[in-house]
């Protein structure tokens, strides 16, 4: 339930391509901030003599609540922010009735002024956010005041009225933020506004809840507000621990990948690149985010079983004995078994035989193992190993296409080639990034002893290799 106007408090994180840590307040925004702050002050100065005074006790309870909840924002991975702020703001407006002008300004300023930015020393943003929230609350109050009598008497009317209230609040907020984007970096106001307003549907439930919280507060007093916020804050707390544990699990997988790469220096960065290529293919297939996420973890872990292969075997120069080869091949079984024992990854684990490097048309219900196989083979060919140098990209493409339909899923091969060509990326000989220094340079072509998953690919893909070596 990302919420709209309070996306603004964490101003810089609204835009996905914006750095999360802003070093200081941009100069270009200073004048704009001053104008907004002046507008808030003028509105307050006009409202004090002309509009009725709200009940300050109520404003204190709701203001305290909004401050409390703004301190407990959750940052979603997609950059949106969850807080119950809008809801409490709308409640304050409904409770105050005809006095909502002052109430909305005060609550908005309270929310903006107590954000974490203050502690990070980004005072410019604090003022900007406080002014923006206060003005968008004011817009909500403008819509709510004429409706306030009927909101109080009819529940059904309250439900309907929540929509224009949320729309007023969201559109004024989006407009003010869009203008600030324009002021700062000349991004067109129209695109910024449209982008920000996509969050509007998510604001409506909050406004709706705010209307009802306000009504109940009027009738039954402050205990209602406390009861109301408990589940929301708990949901937020648990969601935060979910994100934390998810990150911990991610860190565990990454540690394993690092440990794996430390064992075999020629595969440095391999798992990460296979994950990247797999995601390229998944994107071509139009996978949803959750499916991409699962694909990424499965790709990162595709060789994880190598962890248990003794170091001497991994880096052994010369040929492996049959017994050693069997031990090395065990890693495929171990990798598959590990994926299968984790419920989240089990559906994308390759078949129990561990033979994920051959493609059969009959069993393509779950396409992920084939995606990883293509990504794995492509990276194996385009990076330098202990037994041969990297191949040029076009050779790798040709080999993938050559084996499409027998060893590789043709759709995955074409998807990868399309994705790389569209991005203009070139990998392979002359374009490697993570080159390990080696004592004796590997041959240009050849088959080595590190007979791991990619060896089968290598042997078949490069029949000439054996001859030359």
């Amino acid at each position: 339930m990302p919420e709209f106007p309070n996306v603004m408090p964490e101003f810089p994180t609204v835009m996905p391509d914006f750095p999360t840590v802003m070093p200081e307040f941009p100069k270009a925004l200073q004048t704009y901030t001053a104008v907004l702050a002046a507008a808030v002050l003028v509105a307050t100065a006009i409202a004090i003599p002309t509009s009725p005074m709200p009940q300050w006790g109520t404003i204190a309870v709701l203001g305290g609540l909004i401050v409390f909840s703004e301190q407990r924002q959750v940052h979603l991975p997609n950059g949106a922010i969850i807080t119950p702020g809008l809801m409490v703001g709308v409640a304050a407006i409904v409770v105050s009735g005809s006095a909502a002008v002052l109430a909305s300004l005060v609550v908005g300023i309270a929310a903006g002024l107590t954000l974490r930015d203050l502690r990070r020393g980004r005072r410019g943003f604090v003022v900007l956010n406080a002014a923006t929230i206060a003005l968008s609350n004011l817009a909500a109050a403008g819509v709510a005041i004429p409706l306030s009598d009927r909101i109080r008497t009819s529940a059904a009317f309250g439900v309907v009225a929540a929509v224009p209230i949320a729309l007023a609040c969201a559109s004024v907020g989006a407009l003010l933020v869009a203008i600030s984007y324009w002021v700062e970096e000349r991004r067109p106001i129209r695109t910024g506004f449209a982008q920000l307003l996509t969050a509007f549907p998510q604001c409506v439930p909050f406004a709706l809840l705010g209307v009802f919280l306000g009504r109940l507060y009027l009738e039954l007093g402050w205990p209602v507000a406390i009861l109301f916020v408990v589940p929301i804050l708990l949901a937020r707390d648990l969601f935060a621990s979910y994100l934390e544990l998810k990150a911990a699990n991610e860190a565990t997988v990454e540690m394993l990948v690092r440990a794996l790469e430390a064992k075999d220096r020629y595969t440095a960065g391999h798992a990460g690149r296979v994950a990247t290529y797999s995601l390229y293919i998944g994107e071509e297939f139009g996978f949803l985010p959750w499916r991409q996420e699962r694909l990424r973890v499965a790709a990162l872990m595709h060789d994880i079983g190598k962890l248990v292969v003794p170091n001497q075997l991994l880096n052994k120069p010369g040929k492996l004995t049959a017994d050693e080869f069997a031990r090395v091949r065990l890693h495929e079984t171990v990798s598959v078994e590990m994926l299968r024992s984790i419920d989240f990854l089990a559906p994308v684990a390759p078949s129990a035989s561990g033979d994920h490097s051959s493609y059969s048309v009959t069993s393509d219900r779950v396409v992920e193992p084939y995606i990883v196989a293509v990504a794995d083979a492509f990276d194996a060919m385009t990076s330098t190993r202990s037994y041969r140098r990297a191949l040029p990209q076009d050779v790798a493409f040709a080999e993938l296409r050559n084996k499409a339909g027998t060893q590789f899923d043709p759709r995955c091969v074409e998807a990868l080639i399309n994705a790389l060509e569209r991005r203009g990326e070139v990998h392979g000989a002359g374009h490697e990034r993570d080159i390990e220094p080696y004592e004796t340079a590997p041959p240009v072509v050849g088959i080595g002893s590190a007979g791991l998953g990619d060896l089968a690919v290598e042997r078949e893909a490069h029949p000439r290799a054996g001859e030359v070596a």
Binding site: M1, A155, A156, V159, P205, L208, L209, F212, R215, L216, E219, L220, G221, P223, V224, I226, L227, F228, V230, P231, I232, L234, A235, R236, D237, L238, F239, S241, Y242, E244, L245, A247, A248, N249, A251, T252, M255, L256, R258, A259, A262, K263, I304, G305, L307, V308, V309, P310, N311, Q312, L330, T333, V334, E337, M338, L339, S341, I342, D343, F344
Partner: protein
């Protein structure tokens, strides 16, 4: 979650049809009863999952609405019907017997809520005031918690009052009280009827969603750790089943010495991973080599230390490689390391052979006094039974 995607819309649709049919009777109370029964059934399917995989149903929130909104007989009819339907459409995999037990438990909780609410309302003089209604509702929540705890104890389930359980009850209690207040109103004011149930279920569903995500990721994390411990075993670097047995045994010992739940969780993680470092060694020591434990603990701790979430586990593993005498740091950390060391050393000696348990225990007792903490050895003895 997949199973719910079909069932919940189906139940809601059935509820709507039922309510429409009931509205023909021109009795608003019947329409409300059908709607609330639907809410109870849906709430039975949405469960707030706790650490141990058991859960508390969201239905306990609308239950309070039923309790304040109807006469005792009607409450009994509505709750009983909802419990039967809920058991029939539920996702409980424990079969008929399990479903019957759960149904009995729900009825007991419902009866407790009704009794406590009405008893308190009468005791407070049946006054229509926010304080009285609120107080009666809070009493009902407390009664529900108590009965639920008693029912769990009867089924030999662990207490639900864990970190997540307390949160679950707070969310359910607060929302239920709010729904009931909003539904009923006080002294004719503030009663918004079914609107209150519909609207205030939004934050509760958000809470359920968070619980569900957290439960899924908790399971994934545990399974990742288990998969790792399994990998070293499959490769023959560690004796089969060692990781799982040590995790189970150290959990029991840790309970016995009175460590808190979060430390126990770190010990279990450490137990699954305490041999992982063996994979980084060029020349791993043989399974019974004398200094193997110290060497492996050292490299494993170095690996785990890299991960912020596993620094506690790293510290425990690091201490596992040392004698009790050489441990430094906080008392709980030293104790945690000793728990893991005792469990792991015991399993090295006994494996999964019950006949070797006694001699293994005696061998640990016979070690020099500076190796093991006596309290932990005694806890091991109790844990073994």
């Amino acid at each position: 979650m997949n199973r719910l995607r079909v069932r919940i819309p189906a139940i809601v649709a059935a509820g709507c049809v039922g309510a429409a049919a009931a509205s023909a009777s021109n009795d608003l109370a019947v329409v409300h009863a059908v709607a609330l029964m639907t809410a109870l059934v849906v709430g039975e399917l949405l469960v707030l999952r706790l650490e141990d995989g058991t859960g508390i149903p969201v239905a306990y929130a609308p239950l309070l609405v039923v309790v304040v909104g109807f006469t005792s007989t009607r409450v009994a009819v509505i709750v009983a019907a909802a419990v039967v339907i809920g058991a029939a459409v539920g996702t409980d995999r424990r079969g008929l017997r399990g479903r019957c037990t759960t149904s009995a438990q729900r009825l007991a909780v419902g009866a407790a809520a009704l009794g406590a609410y009405q008893g308190m309302f009468v005791a407070l003089g049946r006054t229509e005031s926010v304080a009285v209604v609120l107080g009666s509702l809070v009493t009902a929540v407390v009664a529900m918690v108590v009965v639920e705890e008693m029912a769990r104890r009867g089924q030999r389930l662990p207490s639900a009052l864990t970190a997540r359980g307390v949160r679950a009850w707070s969310a359910l209690g607060a929302t239920g009280v709010l729904m009931a207040l909003g539904y009923r109103g006080v002294d004719g004011r503030g009663g918004t009827g079914l609107w209150s149930v519909a609207l205030f279920s939004i934050p509760l569903i958000a809470a359920w969603y968070s619980f569900e995500r957290l439960a899924v990721v908790t399971r994934t994390h545990r399974q990742t750790l288990q998969a790792l411990s399994m990998a070293t075993e499959m490769a023959g670097l560690v004796v089969d089943g060692h990781g799982r047995r040590v995790a189970e045994l150290s959990e029991r010992i840790a309970h016995e010495v009175g460590l808190d739940l979060s430390t126990i969780e770190h010990i279990v993680a450490a137990a699954h991973l305490h041999h992982l470092g063996v994979v980084t060694l060029d020349d791993p020591p043989a399974p019974r080599a004398p200094d193997r434990v110290a060497i492996v603990a050292d490299v494993t701790a170095a690996m785990l230390r890299e991960i912020p979430a596993l620094t506690e586990a790293a510290r425990i593993v690091d201490g596992q490689g040392r004698h009790a005498r050489d441990l430094r740091g906080r008392a709980d950390d030293r104790l945690a390391s000793q728990v893991l060391k005792v469990a792991s050393d015991f399993d090295d000696l006994a494996g999964d052979e019950p006949l070797r348990a006694r001699p293994a225990l005696e061998a640990l007792y016979a070690s020099p006094g500076y190796v093991y903490d006596r309290r932990v050895l005694e806890a091991l003895e109790v844990a073994l039974g």
